[in-house]
Amino acid sequence: MSILIDEQTSVLVQGITGNQGRFHTQQMLAYGTNVVAGVTPGRCGMEVEGVPVFDTVRAATEEYSIDASVLFTPAAAVKDAALEAMEAGIRTLVIITEHVPVHDCLEIMAYADRIGATIIGPNTYGIVSPGRCKIGIAPSSIFFPGSVGVVARSGTLSYEIVGNLTASGVGQSTVVGIGGDRVVGQSFVDILRLFEADSATSVVVLIGEIGGSAEEEAAPYITQMTKPVVAYIAGQSAPPGKRMGHAGAIIERGRGTYHHKRRALEEAGVRVAELPSQVTGIVQTELSMLHADPFYGLIWSFSRPQQ
């Protein structure tokens, strides 16, 4: 089991004929992802790695049943492409593109909310369900199947921590990058909710960073979770008010500081690692406690006692 995607998920690649689209289509196919079609306006009739290319999303959905679309579309065309995918009936979108104008994101998210679509990103590496399906650009080699769910804002920091987990023999159920922009489709809470309900996930790793309030918003929900959550928050020593490349990492108004986030999460029963390299150890402890906990799996309706 996994969240959001699995080996059945049929995937469309929007912007499949660009450099990135082409390379990662090949990578996704190699990982076993069920990529069924691609779209690039004007490239109908082409094939990329054996995948047929269409002019429009509707042309693709007329021929294939499509569950999810991954967008490598240039930033200026992402709004149109995302609305196109949703209007054609696709209900899971992974938007890899960075630098999408934020007002375009607001419109994408409003439409997604209205019709009930799930948007991952923009500015994300995507979703990986190790051994089953990979949608996006994450390096395949670092993942390994297991029971740890990972949700993160940052890409390379995810790779770092997931790489550590795998190196220590701790596999993952699903790894989700919600995206590094200020406005993204899924919050930490949205993904935590899915992990809580996923029978294959036993511990969740939340990789946050300073700026915004996504981590603080997650805290109240975590108190209701039955599964342990381990966190790392980047930016403890970042200079306040300096641009960090991510718009979300600009510290605003006291909220969003490292200490504010850390306190909120710890009060919700989360064990917060000081360094990324400590995450694996804490997860291993949690895993071993789970197996020693005689009530685990029985008392779903009670919140987990704080450690």
């Binding site: 200026a76 104008p101 940052s154 718009a247």
Partner: protein, 371 residues
């Protein structure tokens, strides 16, 4: 991208929001001429991007041309919160009866624009009691229709159908039109000044979404970057100057921050950092590394987790730099991910640089070398 007050006010005028009469100038003489033309007492406002300009001494009241010239002279030689004053806005002094606060921001939590308003403007909105702040999320498919603007005016305890209430209603709808038209992340009027039946935007704070600038050729460019940051920006990289001992290069905002955190954790401080993001090529990486070295740090820590970024390209860039700059500044390199073995081979054989597998050991080594 933040805009200067006078630029914001020009946009306000374009969208039908009234601002005080005024002009910009960069010499005391012109300041006096403008004051003469405006007549009566004037406000002389330093055009800097600091948030606390008033408290920082950047705003002066002057009574007539002579006083204006003097105040302009002083301001043009000063700095406000660290920003040198190069331009002044000279404006008529308003007879303000009430100061309101009004802004629109993009809110990541609700994934909507949020209008923030308060009958208590003129001070930091953070200090206004929570219950006196109106927060109205905006449904982007509906926009901000007149009825909503009218209701916001009512909640500000102003009769929406009074002349002043009607003027305010128009400001609210116009501000939303401006907000969407220029792809703003923030538009803020503080204070929004009520003078009889007229409403003036007495200040203007606007941040335009950088990612949207390609479609706003008419908006003037304002750069807040240092020289080094500008140069990195041209290369598509992010560089930030800090004041510690260790230069940092990493790829991705999260791992860059984590690298700074590690350096701090082990007892040192970063001198600067360069985030090469995903997929920077060898040439850009080499030039970025020059920026890191230009600060003469005591050591440099390179931390790469290759995904799109290829470790061998990074290694080549480091070798090039080492040839150019010699061994005066010690370099510690951590490579993982795509082509990590090739990268390690290049560095160890061609430049004799030790390569680490783990971020933590690399950071510890860098702190040691800088200590």
């Amino acid at each position: 991208m933040r805009l200067f007050e006078y630029m914001g006010k020009q946009l306000f005028i374009d969208f039908g929001i009234r601002v005080p009469r005024g002009m910009v100038c960069d010499t005391p003489k012109t300041a006096a001429q403008i004051a003469q033309r405006l007549g009566g007492p004037v406000m002389i406002k330093a055009q800097v991007l600091s948030g606390k300009r008033g408290k920082g001494g950047g705003i002066r009241l002057a009574d007539g041309p002579k006083e204006s010239k003097l105040a302009a002279e002083q301001l043009l030689q000063s700095t406000v919160q660290g920003f040198p004053v190069e331009l002044l806005l000279i404006e008529e002094k308003l007879a303000i009866e009430q100061e309101l606060y009004l802004s629109l921001i993009v809110d990541g939590v609700s994934k909507k624009p949020v209008l923030i308003a308060s009958a208590q403007g003129g001070m930091d909105i953070e200090n206004v009691p929570e219950e006196q702040i109106i927060r109205q999320p905006i449904d982007v498919e509906l926009g901000l229709p007149t009825f909503l603007a009218r209701d916001i005016v009512r909640r500000l305890k102003i009769v929406p159908s009074s002349p002043c209430g009607k003027a305010l209603t128009q400001v609210v709808t116009a501000l939303y039109r401006l907000f969407t038209a220029i792809d703003a992340e923030l538009v803020e009027i503080n204070p929004l000044a009520i003078c009889g039946d007229t409403v003036y935007a007495a200040d203007a704070k606007i941040t335009v979404d950088d990612a949207s600038l390609y479609r706003h050729a008419h908006i003037p460019t304002v750069s807040e970057l240092t020289l080094g940051e500008q140069e990195a920006s041209k290369l598509g990289l992010s560089y930030v100057d800090l004041d510690g001992e260790i230069g940092v290069m990493a790829n991705g905002a999260g791992i860059t921050m984590a690298t700074l955190d590690m350096i701090t954790y082990f007892g040192s401080k970063p001198a600067n950092f360069l985030d090469i993001g995903g997929g920077a090529n060898q040439e850009a990486t080499r030039k970025g590394l020059e920026l890191v070295l230009a600060k003469q740090p005591k050591a440099v820590l390179v931390n790469i987790f290759g995904g799109i970024t290829r470790c061998d390209e990074v290694a080549q860039a480091i070798v090039g730099i080492r040839r150019q700059y010699g061994k005066s500044i010690p370099m510690v390199v951590r490579l993982a991910g795509t082509n990590q073995d090739a990268g390690r081979a290049i560095l160890e054989k061609e430049a004799g640089i030790e390569v680490f597998d783990l971020m933590q050991t690399a950071a510890q080594r860098a702190v040691e070398l800088a200590g």
